[in-house]
Symmetry: C2
Subunit: 310 residues, 2 copies
């Protein structure tokens, strides 16, 4: 399929919003909501690095959108539109491309957002898929890694470690488990919770490289320490020993929200209102870095806190 | 250099604007100007496809920014910020990365815009460089391919064909010529002219794939014909014969603006005010497609109008 046909036949139906101008112009034009700040993020997924080449193309599309919307959620933003930067190789044949676009369309509809534009390049050696997500937030409500205060409670949404176990399933290193596999392939950006945290949480980010390494980054940005009780971390699978705990709290790709809020915040009500599990896992303390405990005993930090980009 | 150091040492200094939040958060936050529409574009340059692997990295950075800003200019928009999606291979070593970022910094400063955020991926087989540009335009002033009216004059900025000749220089197929080489490697987005055309031109786009093919696209989108007098096209090099004319009007990468405006528009004043050469090359006519003439005689359309993406 020529690029022109790919755009006209497959992508244009996903761009059913005036901002996209039918994908016929050089750029998208959007009238932003009055009295809002805008939030912008761009994340890349590369075949063989961020997903497995034989992952279903509709799941790849879902994940590409989800990881970007997770960044918006982490800033307390609500998505408005996306631009797609598709770099494709011969491995992404017409059948792959059709399934990818169909999956992207379902994902965009699921999250209430639309394709505004982008670019497609073919002839690469492997797929390199970029997506820019644009969202909006109430003025001053954007969350960031800076802002955690001593005495704040530390929370995480959903469960931790499932995506890492799902990757092992996808690689054949663990028995088939659809739930874990979906944690890796179809992460859930916590948009409702993120939007609700604006103006309420003191700091926040999404857990993309592992709970511990991301917590360490939040601590560094806020110039505080984080005391984490490992017993309270909502693990995707019950752990039999410390090694199994550590494997899950250092695994990436969970795309849960990690955030701090003043003590006394009614987080149970917020969790109910946003239909999102929220668990308190620690406290903001003086100092720097992480202090881990398990069953009341200090636990030394593992040598590797999570996924470090080369 | 680890990705963390690359971001902190090299990229963060380019993000000296509050929207970027020091590149420490998951996304950028920007307060848009009141009473403006926003314009978004995303273009990719891949090594070996859109530029030659031994092109100077600072020129690659310039071109990556310029081709995106050209899309903003084509919509009559003024740039505000950019997100960078860097996919890198081992060929882009520390020295390449430093030179690329230094060149990008100079280009951003030159065009009065800033880095807001993005993503970096390493371990690819070749560089795949994406950039999202965000700009603003007066409400209703965004140009598009739709809107050319019968009787409007057809204009092009600058000169045509130079980038194609410059590519031949870069490939060693023509004698060294710095001016032509720069036309290929360091195109000039026509931002001042584009912004001035908002509310004045009836339709517009940038010439990225070749004058004829892009004119044909504008004609199709506006459902009109375009009569082009080839004698009047401002060629980068004087042509000795029709073949030399055709080579230049079907070559890509010029990033000039092609636009239509009502007869009687004082284009000379606009060209002077924006310090941009503007040449009338034809007229919007009834019908469809292109009608070419040279020295008063009809010229058949060439089999290939320009660069068609596979």
């Amino acid at each position: 399929m020529a690029e022109r046909d790919f755009i006209a036949r497959l992508l244009a139906p996903l761009a059913a919003t005036p901002a996209a101008r039918g994908l016929t112009d050089d750029a998208a034009v959007w009238t932003p909501p009055i009295g809002r700040q805008l939030v912008f993020t761009h994340d890349i997924l590369a075949a063989g690095i961020h997903y497995l080449p034989d992952d279903p193309p509709s799941d790849v599309a879902w994940k590409l959108l989800a990881v970007n919307l997770s960044d918006l959620a982490a800033m307390a933003a609500t998505p408005a539109g996306v631009l797609l930067g598709l770099g494709l190789s011969a491995a992404e044949d017409d059948s792959w491309r059709s399934a990818f676009v169909a999956g992207l369309g379902r994902a965009l509809a699921h999250f209430g957002t639309a394709l505004w534009g982008g670019d497609t390049v073919t002839g690469l050696d492997r797929a390199v898929l970029g997506l820019t997500a644009i969202g909006w937030v109430e003025p001053g409500h954007a969350l960031g890694r800076v802002g955690a205060q001593i005495g704040d409670a530390l929370y995480v949404s959903g469960s931790i470690g499932g995506a890492g176990l799902g990757l092992a399933v996808a690689r054949g290193a663990r028995p088939f488990d659809k739930t874990l596999l979906n944690r890796f392939r179809r992460p859930t950006p916590r948009l409702a919770l993120g939007a609700a945290l604006g103006g309420l949480a003191s700091a926040g980010m999404d857990v993309s490289d592992g709970l511990l390494i991301d917590a360490d980054r939040l601590a560094a940005a806020s110039a505080v320490g984080l005391a984490i009780t490992l017993d309270s971390v909502p693990l995707a699978l019950p752990a039999e020993n410390l090694a199994e705990v550590m494997a899950q709290v250092t695994a990436g790709d969970d795309y849960e929200l990690l955030f701090t809020a003043p003590p006394g915040t009614d987080m149970a009500a917020l969790a109910t209102a946003t239909k999102t599990p929220v668990t308190r896992i620690g406290t903001v303390v003086h100092g720097s870095g992480l202090r881990l405990t398990l069953a009341g005993q200090p636990v030394p930090l593992p040598g590797r806190l999570g996924w470090e980009h080369a």
